[in-house]
Symmetry: D3
Subunit: 315 residues, 6 copies
């Protein structure tokens, strides 16, 4: 841009405070050489959802919300501004061929991971179906992987009734031998949000379930310590899948499947803070945020905040 004072490209912020760096500025488009640290990949797909969902708009909304935060943690007295979040951009979905889209997700994420072996990927859904693609790619590159899933739902539905949807990712992964049931830990499973057949499937496959009663009784922190301890003895890396509907509807009003009786946001924040200190945690996704249903981007804001907390405490 040629320099006329006070004339700035339309995309630039209208006000710049010399003492503040916006977290959105941490985003640096990937330049093709192997990156380190956290890397964002958008997986904008929600046509795979059982109910109407605009979760495909979440990567855009969450990135935008990163601009509403600064880079400085007063709690840790740590400024992230010298760090970068590598932004790999979004994987383009096919308009009408959803399986093709899912295949693209696997291939692209695999290639990103191969070319950036030290990156900690944070995949932004999209609905929860994208975790099947993402974890498949993750496992191909990284080997056996343990999963910590925050969710009100098992997502272990049968594949016959509707194909690979946002209700089936972990079923797909188990049946595809991408993960073992015993390497999957589900936290926040809720009453009247699942079918017994699928809870039984979980049990039969050795999946560890922490229900909301467990969360309320033990606290997310203790559950996560236990979970990480268990998984790290079995697998070489841990992948955290955060379905935002694990939260109570008061704290995540923008999820497609909101409901009462869920976690509060403080618990989830502290959970992510703990996980970010664990060297074995090597990847994360955040799914099921629908910006078209949200109130003032609250749910996207929280997602962006989780990314920053995840970045802040990494060893």
């Amino acid at each position: 841009m040629p320099d006329i004072r006070y004339l700035l490209p339309a995309s630039e912020p209208k006000f710049k405070d010399s003492g503040i760096t916006k977290a959105g500025e941490l985003l640096k488009a990937w330049n093709g050489s192997p990156a380190t640290g956290i890397g964002l990949i958008g997986a904008p797909l929600s046509k795979t959802s059982i109910s109407h969902s605009g979760a495909a708009m979440a990567p855009e909304a969450i990135r935008k919300m990163l601009h509403s935060f600064t880079t400085y943690s007063v709690e840790k007295d740590k400024d992230l501004k010298s760090m970068a979040i590598t932004d790999f951009g979004d994987i383009t979905p096919h308009v009408t061929d959803l399986k093709e889209t899912q295949n693209r997700f696997v291939k692209v994420i695999q290639e990103v991971l191969e070319r950036n072996p030290d990156i900690i990927p944070v995949i932004l859904g999209g609905d929860h179906s994208i975790s099947a693609s993402s974890i498949r790619a993750f496992k191909k590159v990284k080997g056996p992987v343990g999963i910590i899933q925050f969710d009100a739902h098992h997502d272990l539905r049968n594949l016959e009734d509707g194909g690979p949807s946002n209700g089936t990712p972990f079923r797909q992964l188990i049946e595809g031998n991408d993960i073992k049931g015993e390497h999957l830990i589900q936290i926040g499973i809720r009453d009247f949000s699942n079918g017994r057949m699928y809870t039984n499937y979980a049990k039969e496959n050795g999946i560890k379930i922490y229900s909301m009663n467990d969360v309320n009784r033990l606290g997310a922190r203790r559950i996560l310590e236990e979970s990480v301890r268990t998984l790290k003895s079995k697998v070489s890396s841990i992948y955290v899948s955060v379905d935002m509907d694990v939260l109570d509807q008061a704290f995540a009003p923008g999820c497609p499947a909101i409901g009462p009786g869920g976690m509060n946001s403080e618990d989830l924040i502290q959970g992510v803070q703990y996980l970010s200190t664990c060297p074995d945690v090597k990847g994360m996704d955040i799914v099921e945020v629908d910006p078209t249903l949200d109130f003032r981007d609250m749910t996207s804001r929280l997602a962006a905040y989780l990314i920053l907390q995840f970045l802040l405490n990494r060893p």
Copy 2:
């Protein structure tokens, strides 16, 4: 419907998962023979409200929200799908004669209870005025009844100023000798939401008041244990009246009289779970949900969830 594959009546869900039963499917229209278990009766009246209210739309909204839950409780490992909720439908209000509507409510509920002596009625308001009709009918059929009322407000206003409104149901019941003051327990009464004259009326009539400070100090569970113990020694059955505005505005954004300083939803859920285990609890109503003011049906969702928890734990 004649069978053309994939062609279904418009009212049917567009997707059916063979491993999931929706709680809405538990609703079975009453067939005229004596029913058992829980029975829903809609009392769609809110023209009786002091302020503008669309609570008359709540029965429709709450029934619809039952379809957003499944029948399975992971906490209890219990599937309700073999149970039924008898749906008695809605009592039709008169367009302009509100007392006539209230009389219809008394008569219809009375007849439903007489013809279904074993039913546990769950009356869906409407505004809180419907409790006067409902409890009057309840008492006619069941005899002396104790009331546990969750509410930010006493609802003991004088009848001279505005007639039998949503501010007066418990005054009407006491003055009509339908209940005794000492058989009424009010939980969640809140600062700056009542008039001293009515708190005094409550005290003079022996009504037991647990304010929000009491709830915060003792917990809903302990208060309810105490309440049930007290009431069961005095009356033969207990009726629970849940005014959703007992909740803080963050958890029940769709009540006409929202405000800060109220209960959180987890407490109320656990309260209803406890009450559902008490054999003396023989009826319930849920009132003051206005779907036209709600955000994403959160308040109706919570109401539906309370019905399921009430059903789940019944002895």
Copy 3:
């Protein structure tokens, strides 16, 4: 339902005026024997849309809006209440396989038409992709068909870039030899809403285009008279495809692709009134209504009103 006075099934209207019949009551579920008159078929698919769309919810919304109209036309002094609209219900889409859904649409509509040779089908989208399926089925059963398409857009996009979407239905039909270009008439094509490549495609294929300037200059009525005259000499039946985005955004705020410079609703109403008097018009669809974006269901209301006007004037 057993008779307790004033107790009605939840789905019944709460007030019934003895002098009014709601148009929604005209809907009669198909009983399997050959029906006559107008028949509604819901095609709830919008995952095929290029942009995020909730048009799949339109069949439900439009049917509901039929309940906000009565059966009586004061202009014609004609009461439709002795007529019926056969409701064939909705065709169930597959959750993740969109081509499978489109195949189901073809097969089901074909079977409906075969078993109901005298029905005038009104297909409720869904996005405009459903017209490809619907017209394909129509042509299979009825033979060569001429199309009058109200639309701001050609919908002649190439199939390579995104597959069979809501941008491609008429391209699909021409390339699949389901219709001839010269049998397609497009009304309401608008500036800055199309690509030249596709206007050229239209011209090369003999498609007749009436742009918005033409509509403003000639009036919809005169264009339609001309169009029907032209088509009836060439084909045995005419199918009308109404993409509601042909209207200006002020009159159809609930279409996914709203914009200025379109038709006003009165013109479209009069157009449909004229078409309904033409015996050669044998089918219609109404597409691109997204109830999740609408204001007070205005666009669904208008769609329902068009159905009634289409029914009213049929010879």
Copy 4:
């Protein structure tokens, strides 16, 4: 208020331009002595509506919208700022006894008219039921009255099914001998918005009906000239009842019963301009504006604008 510069009562506007007078400032509370010119009376009742309605909030909203206009007509080069609109305030409704409310309306309006014989009352509903009370009072004080009713609906429903509601005012007036059928002219009656029984009732009672086709064909102005000519030969004064739902939904999005196929706002404005020049027009009401459903108070704004146009052109 004591004078501290720049400190103003909370209710005062925050900015005052010395060259602008807001139309809201024309409102002067009635001081008890006989007033002349236009007098506003609020009739905040909509519990009488067949469907859920917040029209009771319209008097407040319309008064507020008067503050968004100035007092100056550039078309007539006339400034109303030396005139006053006498504000009689609102008639308080009973909370639960709707007939009592209607009786209060009759008595209060009657007394206002008796004590202010030269006032031109403008009654602000509320729903259309208030016209029955208002016209009854009007006739008691002024003698035989002719009515020009703008409405999509006859409002001639039977009184048995729901009592005196917003569907019945003109039936009540005819059956109560308050007006004769031949003195009632209905403009804007619309397809699929009425029952044949009531159109027949209108015809049998000599009510003159101008349907929307008539309005589109003849124009509101010519219809009104004809109507005033007819009525002035038969009655001593004319009362205009404006149900805002006579307008198309695009122009009056805040009416409870919106729909397509109605008048545009320019026609209604010109109609009111004409009526305001007729000395025989002695009263008006504006009804069926529901501010809780409106978009940016558009419908209340238009109502306020009609009041000003009605005031502007009075002889």
Copy 5:
């Protein structure tokens, strides 16, 4: 961006049709060498508004809406895709010093015009106050300028009461000798939207006023022909200032000062089409669009469409 197939920068569109160019792609950031054709400059200021306004967000919203249109005009069979709209970006406002912001606007626009003598600037407000800055700069560079102002309001308020606000731009220009009153033509001035003092000021200063009655009687086209003819004999260039509130509220729901009785959008579109054919028209601004109040960006969409029509017909 390194090439991984299907991985695209987050800012890129998720779907690209090879036959469609989006109008937003015409925007090319200025590279510093003299540009020709149309040049966009954002003037994001609305703190100067008398009422609360978010018009400062309009440049972003209008640019975004350019992406919802294509480059092809079917009416003219002309594709703009080989043309460019030079995007000069936005002028950064000061957070708290509004006069400083206005000075920046003058200086930057002046410099842009000096360095790009052949550009046709299109300034995107912001509120109408920005026209004072813009026209001042325009006149400094281009010499005497005639103004065609579309507006419901004169914007000739006194400067004493509130300083240079959105109510004063043309007063400022006249009093600052930037323009002569006789070189200002105001189109669409509306009843009850102005003060007589300011209409008198207009008349005394030789400003030509076309009220809404004039617009309805003569048509925008004829008024504009007359206006251009008049102005071109007096000044060397014409600047068009489009306050979107000249439109009726049904067509521009997102203006801060909406109201009934205004122009419809088709008239304004045709007016801009005509103006774009006049070689003397050398600049334009579009102001008073508040995206925070709009419905589905309708008003920004229309603003973007006007820009394209302005570009399309340029000689």
Copy 6:
């Protein structure tokens, strides 16, 4: 108002219960003689905000919300109805000169305090910039003052980049020697909401910071006890500045800068209850409530509730 029964001024409530006094009725316009107790002063300025803000509308919204509460505290069994809240009205802002507005705030508040030496002022913002004016006036009249600031943000930004905005009030006060850094206590400072430069500035200036971790660990009550103890030894009076964005977004959805990880409303309520018992607390402001962004006035409701709790417990 002359007495016609049931006819009331438009501004009066439509229903009056003889046993209820609304808290809004406590507001008494200042009569010029020295007042005691709490005094409200509106400071409607938010053009000074860094981001778009409608906080200038908060004084009106909060006053209105006082009408949704009663005067009676059931917890304290204390009725405020014999008390008064002196309403000093609002200070009128200049339309375009924001510094002039800030100067008016200082002068008016100073004069109010001088003429009402015993008043406890509660200033209603506006954005947080108003605290600089308010505290400056406070200090001029009352001498050295200690500040307890609830806020997610330091508000210690530099003044060069944007002038005296809502990001700078406490920087202004320190640099202007209105307060000392060691007399400022900030509670609720949050991660990713501040710049390190400003946290360092706070530390260097002796400002005491309690971050959200501190609040979660110690509780608001204990922090406040400590804070009051510290301050009262150093200054003669304490001023409490409540930026509502100290709350989590779930509890204060109407603040411009919402986010996760904040306080819950119960903690803040209890904090204010405690502060109201401290005789040294001599003034308060409530800022950063934007009614245009809120949901059902939740944030204004909470602000009104805090005022009542602050009034309730005063010694």
